[in-house]
């Protein structure tokens, strides 16, 4: 598995560390009900197929990345800066 970082290009898997599902970016409000926090912290769609997850380019540019990936084939489909994804989501909310 090699990941194409938007800044560094296609790099070896060992340069990256995995954080978890990209839903980690959708943090509930501090005042949100406990059910919402439970869902955010623990519950996962965990798809067998295309998924989006958060990776950190630790040994490279130190960017947080949203990687679109197939969990059955290990194919990497897209890789975006997590910052861009989060900003776009905030724009969409407005």
């Amino acid at each position: 598995m090699r990941i194409t970082c938007p800044y560094c290009g296609t790099r070896d898997l060992r340069e990256f560390s995995y954080r978890g599902a990209a839903s980690d970016l959708e943090r509930p409000d501090a005042e949100a009900p406990p059910e919402e926090w439970h869902a955010y912290l623990h519950l996962r769609d965990n798809p067998a197929g295309v998924t989006r997850d958060l990776w950190y380019h630790e040994m490279g540019c130190a960017s947080w990345l949203v990687v679109t990936r197939n969990t059955v084939t290990h194919e990497i489909l897209a890789c975006d800066l997590a910052r861009d994804v989060a900003l776009k989501a905030r724009e969409a909310k407005r």
């Binding site: 898997l13 995995y18 439970h38 769609d45 067998a48 998924t51 997850d53 969990t71």
Partner: protein, 417 residues
């Protein structure tokens, strides 16, 4: 047919023509009392104990592939009861006791071998932690012996005792731990369940779970609809997909765990050794192959195969611990799909849907749990109450924060175990 020395002798003298199929291949009936989704070790054991302990024999096990083709055939076959936390401790103790009587109970040779397990430690602090764990095991009624460096050396003379980073200080020895042949465990439970009247239906994938007014009424499958008042989801490795059919999201992330086996060698390792600091463990199979593995690849995956960085890490750990392994050639590697729960402990519980039961989240501990998990899940299905050995495997512990069982002490969020 009942297996016995007499039977082996008789068949041997008459050309081995009398051995029949170990289980039937029935067509699914329109309805059952209980449907178990998943014909892996846990599902088969659940069906077996439902029939044996509770007299519930109108049961179907629905398997989308074939018996023994999933995670029950993709592990490293270790059996042990060396847990430290209440909840896990009594459960794995219960499971080990079932293992000890399993072959006689099933009338099947599962090649259960109590060759012992040594968990190595490499510092004073780790020795204290091992002593504490050993005491917890003894308090649970199981066995543990704290070995010093020379005690380990007497059993395992080939380790690198003076490794600059991880010198061997000693090990926690669990003599009743060991290994079993994983396929035979699946086959033995399958045969045992079948002989008691359970229908094992292979090549039958569940495509929907029927729920009416908060009650489960049956399932849709690739071989037609089947009705049942009780349905158990016992599909670790695919738990999320199965639960989604009941509209549930689970606290599970699926990860890949790789394992490796060398060519067959003469006997050289007569116990199981774990090198926790290197995320490495090893045993020798009865066929002679050294069977070993390491940690997760650490990304969500259903691929049943891993990537090379983790393979390299495992080989490095192997060479660090026992340099003699460098002479052996790796024959093959594979991956199992782990249901990783946030606290690293499993879930055996009812759900918010009446008649729907859940057994999942086995992380990397599923194989040794097979008899215990089947036994307590059958109890839950039959009585509606958790078995005394599995009262703490509640699904709601993540929502409430009460009763989390974080055996490693790393936290109770995803990707920490």
């Amino acid at each position: 047919m009942r297996f016995s020395a007499w039977q082996v002798l008789k068949e041997g003298l008459t050309g081995n023509r009398g051995w029949g199929a170990h289980w039937r291949d029935p067509e699914p009936k329109p309805a059952y009392d209980v449907i178990i989704i998943g014909g892996g070790g846990h599902g088969l054991a659940t069906a077996y104990y439902l029939a044996k302990e509770h007299g519930i024999t109108n049961v179907a096990v629905l398997e989308k592939g074939y018996i023994g083709g999933g995670n029950v055939g993709r592990n490293t076959t270790i059996v042990r009861a060396n847990y430290g936390l209440p909840g896990n401790s009594e459960f794995y103790s219960h499971s080990l006791k079932l293992w000890e009587g399993l072959e006689a109970d099933l009338n099947y040779n599962v090649m259960h071998s109590q060759r012992g397990i040594i968990n190595l430690f490499h510092s004073d602090g780790a020795r204290d932690a091992a002593a504490r764990r050993g005491n917890a095991m003894i308090n649970q009624g199981d066995d543990a012996v704290l070995l010093d460096r020379e005690g380990v050396r007497a059993m395992l003379p080939f380790l690198d005792y003076d490794n600059i980073r991880f010198p061997v200080y000693g090990g926690l020895y669990h003599a009743r731990g060991g290994t079993a042949r994983h396929d035979a465990v699946a086959w033995g439970f399958a045969r045992g369940a079948d002989r008691r009247g359970v229908d094992l239906i292979q090549n039958c994938e569940v495509t929907g779970i029927d729920i009416e007014q908060g009650r489960v009424t049956g399932v849709q499958t690739t071989r037609g609809a089947i009705k049942a008042k009780k349905v158990a989801m016992v599909a670790a490795g695919r738990s999320g997909q199965v639960a989604a059919m009941a509209g549930m999201r689970l606290p599970i992330e699926s990860h890949i765990l790789q394992a490796f086996v060398t060519e067959g060698l003469k006997p050289c390792l007569d116990t199981v050794v774990t090198f926790g600091m290197g995320h490495f463990y090893i045993s020798q199979s009865d066929k002679g192959g050294l069977v070993f593995g390491g940690d997760l690849d650490f990304y969500a995956s259903y691929a049943a195969r891993g990537n090379l960085p983790q393979a390299e890490h495992v080989m490095e750990a192997a060479m660090t611990l026992m340099p003699m392994i460098g002479k052996a050639r790796v024959l093959r590697s594979w991956g199992g799909i782990m249901d990783m729960s946030p606290d690293g402990s499993p879930i055996i519980d009812t759900t918010h849907i009446d008649g729907l039961f859940l057994n999942c989240g086995w992380c990397y501990g599923g194989f040794k749990a097979v008899p215990g998990s089947g036994h307590v899940t059958a109890h839950l299905i039959a009585t509606g109450r958790p078995h005394a050995a599995a009262t703490k495997y509640r699904l709601d512990r993540f929502a409430t924060g009460i009763g989390l069982m974080d055996e490693e002490g790393t936290g109770s969020q995803h990707n920490l175990h």
